[in-house]
Every structure is written in structure tokens, then in C-alpha cells.
């Protein structure tokens, strides 16, 4: 719709416009500390977030960054030590039991459904979200069709492959049509077809009903392709929150040089020493973030001189959200890029 068309639409009387809140979650100063024998571990260290209604919002961070702790507070299963969480304006900290009326949650572990078949898991979950028997059965049939669960819909979930289990649990999250879906690593173990089925199902609900999706991931590629906005978490803090494009613009002068050495590179070479100091090393694979000019120069030296003999492979890539994470002080090298 262009601006011109917009003016031609007659405004509806205010009373006929349903209250469509623009913000789903408003989080301020959220703090949660786990007491351990070795000392206090801050799992949420003063988190501020706004998640708009109808967007796909991501929480990206390495394992242990506090993503699941944050999510469990968002869905009212964990009480914060301090701070506030508002869900469509309602106080989640004071009234955690209102959350299931609005939010469907996909936990990381699906053992609760292991004895059920996907078919009965969908129907049972729909019933537990308040649907009548007939409506729950209709929902079951629609979801089996939509997510292509039919080939394994009547086998116990515990006996299915990891990907099939995940897809069935994802289906159960969709049952009962909640306006907010909180998904903790929904695509773990899924093959590319199943991943596409998941993203299409989410997109359909967003377009038709304006469903809000809060997605936990440690996969950078997933974050860059499906998220409207992303908060990057590290050690319980939000170190950045914006669209993936704007976040990447923070590091757009940089490129990433990936090197795979055939043998141990010569330790006395000055270029090798410089790169080694900056590299994240996984065995003989080095990953170095450099500004574009330095990267070009380094690559020239590497490919034009004697070091080329020791080099097995190299790639030069544009920056990713992982580079944003590292540039902003992220401390882990556990983010996935597949």
C-alpha cells in the first residue's frame, strides 16, 4: 500500500477498531541470580527488552548466555529477583498464571510427550489449551497435514528420530492458537525440509493472525535469515538489540578470514604471529576478523609466498552476527554457523 492509497482509506470509528497493542513484551531491569556453592552466578543481569507484537524476535547467544533463563522468566515459570515483565500490558511477575492464556511455549526438552504419538500429543495439547474435543481433533488433523507429520503420526514420540520429535513438539506448540509463541531452539535436529515447514507455519500465523514469535537460537545463520530483530546475549546481559542488518552494519568494515592449515604454520613468521594473536582457533582452523584492507593484504602475502604451502584452504566472508557478538565483547566461540 502506498502513501497515496493510505489517504484514501476512510478512517474507522475508534470504537470499531479492536485494541491492537503494538508491544507484546516489555522487559525492564530483569535480574536473576543463581546461588551456587562456588558463588553467585548472574543468569540475567539487568535485561531491558521490547518485543513488538507481530514480529519474529530472536534471542541469540552461546550456551550459558542466559537465554533459557530469560525465556523461563518471560513465560512466568521463573520469578526474577528484580525487574518487571509486562505481557500485553499485564504484569507477569505478579500474575504468572496469565501467561499461558497468551503464550505457547516450546521447551528444549520434549520428554513430557515421549509416550504420546504426535497425533495424540497435538490433540491433548489442544485440549489443555481449552479447545473442545471436536475443535482439538480438527486442529490435530490440520497440523498433521501442515507439518507433514502423517508418516509417523501414530508412533510414540519417544521412538522417533530427533528431528521428527522436534517437529511433533513444535506442532504441539501451535495447537490452541496462542498470540505469542516462545520457541527454545525449535529447529535443533531438523533437516532442511522440516526447517522450511517450521518457518512457513510461523509465517502463515504471522500474516493471518499477527502472531508474535520469540525465538531462542545459537545459530547465527538462522538468526540472520528469519529474525526481524535480535537481542544478542552474553553472560546474562543484552549486549546489542536491533535488526540483523543494522547490527551487521556496526562491523561492516570488517571481513572474516578463515584459514585451514595443512601443517602447523611456521611460528617465526611475523604475519602468522599477528594472525594467531587475533584468531579463534579450532585445531588447525583459524578464524580471524580483520578490516577489509588488512585482510586483503594478509591474503596476498599468504597466497603469494612460501606460507601457501602450509595452507590447505581459505575463505573470505562478509561479517555475520557472530562478528557483531565478538566485536561487542562476546566471550564465547560456541555460536553455530550452519
Amino acid at each position: 500500500m502506498t502513501a497515496g492509497e493510505l489517504h484514501e482509506v476512510a478512517p474507522k470509528p475508534a470504537s470499531a477498531v479492536p485494541a491492537q497493542p503494538s508491544v507484546a513484551y516489555e522487559v525492564a531491569g530483569l535480574t536473576k541470580v543463581y546461588r551456587a556453592k562456588s558463588g553467585d552466578v548472574p543468569a540475567s543481569a539487568g535485561i531491558d527488552l521490547t518485543i513488538r507484537a507481530g514480529e519474529v524476535f530472536g534471542l541469540l547467544g552461546p550456551n550459558g548466555a542466559g537465554k533459557t533463563t530469560l525465556v523461563r522468566q518471560l513465560i512466568g515459570l521463573l520469578r526474577p529477583d528484580a525487574g518487571s515483565i509486562k505481557l500485553f500490558g499485564q504484569d507477569v511477575v505478579a500474575h504468572p498464571r496469565v501467561v499461558p492464556d497468551f503464550v505457547a511455549y516450546l521447551p528444549q526438552d520434549d520428554a513430557a510427550l515421549a509416550d504420546l504419538t504426535p497425533s495424540s500429543a497435538l490433540e491433548t495439547t489442544a485440549r489443555l489449551r481449552g479447545l473442545s474435543k471436536a475443535a482439538a481433533r480438527a486442529t490435530r488433523d490440520e497440523l498433521v497435514e501442515e507439518l507433514a507429520l502423517a508418516p509417523f503420526a501414530r508412533r510414540p514420540i519417544g521412538k522417533l528420530s530427533g528431528g521428527q520429535r522436534r517437529l511433533a513438539s513444535f506442532g504441539a506448540t501451535l495447537a490452541g492458537d496462542r498470540p505469542v509463541l516462545v520457541l527454545d531452539e525449535p529447529t535443533t535436529g531438523l533437516d532442511p525440509n522440516a526447517r522450511r515447514a517450521v518457518w512457513s507455519a510461523l509465517e502463515r500465523r504471522r500474516l493471518a493472525n499477527g502472531v508474535t514469535v520469540v525465538l531462542v537460537t545459537h545459530n547465527v545463520l538462522e538468526a540472520e535469515t528469519v529474525l526481524d530483530r535480535v537481542a544478542i546475549l552474553d553472560r546474562g546481559r543484552v549486549i546489542a538489540s536491533d535488526t540483523p542488518g543494522r547490527l551487521k552494519a556496526l562491523v561492516d568494515r570488517d571481513v572474516r578470514l578463515e584459514l585451514a592449515w595443512r601443517d602447523e604454520p611456521p611460528a617465526d613468521d611475523p604475519l602468522v604471529s599477528t594472525l594467531r594473536a587475533k584468531a579463534i582457533q579450532r585445531g588447525r582452523r583459524w578464524s580471524v576478523r580483520l578490516d577489509a584492507d588488512h585482510a586483503r593484504a594478509a591474503l596476498g602475502q599468504l597466497t603469494g609466498g612460501p606460507l601457501f604451502e602450509a595452507l590447505d584452504d581459505f575463505t573470505l566472508t562478509t561479517p555475520s552476527l557472530e562478528d557483531v557478538y565478538l566485536a561487542l565483547g562476546g566471550s564465547s566461540d560456541e555460536l553455530e554457523r550452519t
Partner: protein, 252 residues
């Protein structure tokens, strides 16, 4: 756009049906393990008990029947909830608009129902084996239902309250051993301290109700009072495990 909530009855029905899938998945092993053990007790103790005392024979049959219930409802359910808690899988239930009371009651009822075939088999078979009067053997039905729900409530409580999965497993097994020992041995043969323990173990009242029904002239007053105590224990056990469920989900 707010989602709906199920009524207590609808939530109970959905959870109960869902839990029955557990029975379908492991029906034969559960039935065999729970029942064979008690059949073994009935047969083995025939050679050991003082057959001149019908008090002892009734204790063996009643205690063995309730042991079937405790194996499944107390022991296996404690293990099940211990495992669900340890893996974080309780979050699935915690995030649904269902009251913990509906969830726990339906789970306990479903697991109690798993024990019905085995307990009835042991009760009827045991009474026949010892030549006890069969006129009031039907009392096993309310006994199994009430013992099943109360022991399942306690099993859920043990599994949910135990700090670690291994502790839940051991607690479930110790609980079952206590039910077996205190049920099989007639109260008057136990030392004073153990009699005190017997008086506070909920399965005692289920065992006593069934033993009183197996007498040549059943003592209906005792049956009624003991079953009444069982109802009270059910309510307490379910309330405690519903509280433990909420706590297990929110304090992880």
C-alpha cells in the same frame, strides 16, 4: 486474542487419556513386574505363614494386593516425575493453562488405573489360594482406587520434591518396600516403634480394609473407617504433590 482455558474436568480428561498412553507403551512389562512379584509373595509365604491363623493369611493376601499398587503408583511414578523434573520436561505442563491440581489428580488416577488388573488378579487368586471367603472380595476395587490415588500422589510428591533424580528413584523403591513389609506382616507381630510407623503409612488403611473384608464375617465398620481414612490420605497426598509440582517447575 486471548486463548481459552480448559475446565477442571476437560483438563482431567485430557491428562488422564494422555497418561494412559504410558500404559499402552509399557503395559506388558509394567503388568508383569508388578504382578509377578506379588504372585510370588502369595505363593512363597504359603509355606511360611502360620496357616492356623487367618489373620496372617488375610495380611498376606491384602498386603500382596496393595504391593502391586505401590510398585506402579508409588515406585514407578516417583521415578517418572523424578526424570521429568531432571530433564526440565515439566516446563511443558507448567506453561499450559492447566491447574496443578487437575494435572496431578489426573496423573495419579491414570497410574492408579494401571494397577487395577494386577491387584484384582492377586486379590482374587490369593483369596482362592488360601481358601479365604470370597463374598466381600469386591472390596479390592475401592481399595485399589483409593490406595492407587493416594500412593500415586505420594509417588508424584517424592519424584517432584527429591532434589535429584537418583534420590527420587531410591525414595520410590524404599516407599514400595515399606508398603510391602508393613502390609504383609500383621500389625500385632510388629515391635511398638514399627507399629507407630505402620499407623502413619497410608497404605496401611487400604491393607486393613481389605483384610477385614476377607474375614469369615467381614467387619464392615472397620472396612468403612479404613476406606474413609484412605479418602483423606488421597486429598492430602494430591494437595501436597500439586504444591510440589508448582515448586518443582518454578524453582528450577
Amino acid at each position: 486474542m486471548t486463548g481459552a482455558r480448559p475446565s477442571f474436568a476437560a483438563a482431567f480428561g485430557a491428562v488422564f487419556t494422555g497418561q494412559l498412553a504410558r500404559a499402552r507403551a509399557g503395559a506388558i512389562p509394567i503388568f508383569m513386574a508388578a504382578t509377578v512379584q506379588s504372585v510370588g509373595l502369595v505363593v512363597l509365604l504359603k509355606g511360611l505363614v502360620d496357616t492356623s491363623s487367618d489373620v496372617t493369611e488375610q495380611s498376606v493376601v491384602a498386603g500382596s494386593s496393595v504391593t502391586v499398587v505401590s510398585f506402579v503408583a508409588l515406585n514407578l511414578l516417583a521415578q517418572r516425575f523424578g526424570a521429568l523434573k531432571a530433564s526440565g520436561a515439566l516446563d511443558y505442563f507448567g506453561a499450559l493453562p492447566v491447574s496443578p491440581a487437575a494435572l496431578i489428580t489426573a496423573t495419579a488416577a491414570a497410574w492408579a488405573s494401571f494397577t487395577v488388573p494386577g491387584s484384582i488378579l492377586v486379590a482374587v487368586g490369593g483369596a482362592a489360594f488360601y481358601g479365604l471367603p470370597m463374598g466381600a472380595v469386591w472390596v479390592i476395587v475401592p481399595v485399589v482406587v483409593l490406595a492407587g490415588i493416594s500412593l500415586a500422589g505420594l509417588g508424584a510428591l517424592l519424584g517432584l520434591a527429591a532434589p535429584r533424580q537418583e534420590i527420587a528413584t531410591v525414595a520410590g523403591q524404599l516407599g514400595m518396600a515399606a508398603v510391602m513389609f508393613l502390609g504383609l506382616v500383621p500389625a500385632h507381630r510388629l515391635p511398638g516403634v514399627v507399629q507407630g510407623v505402620r499407623a502413619v503409612v497410608p497404605s496401611t488403611y487400604a491393607v486393613d480394609a481389605f483384610a477385614a473384608a476377607l474375614k469369615s464375617s467381614p467387619r464392615w465398620g472397620t472396612v468403612g473407617v479404613d476406606l474413609g481414612v484412605c479418602v483423606g490420605v488421597c486429598v492430602l497426598a494430591l494437595a501436597a504433590s500439586a504444591w510440589a509440582f508448582r515448586r518443582a517447575v518454578t524453582q528450577r
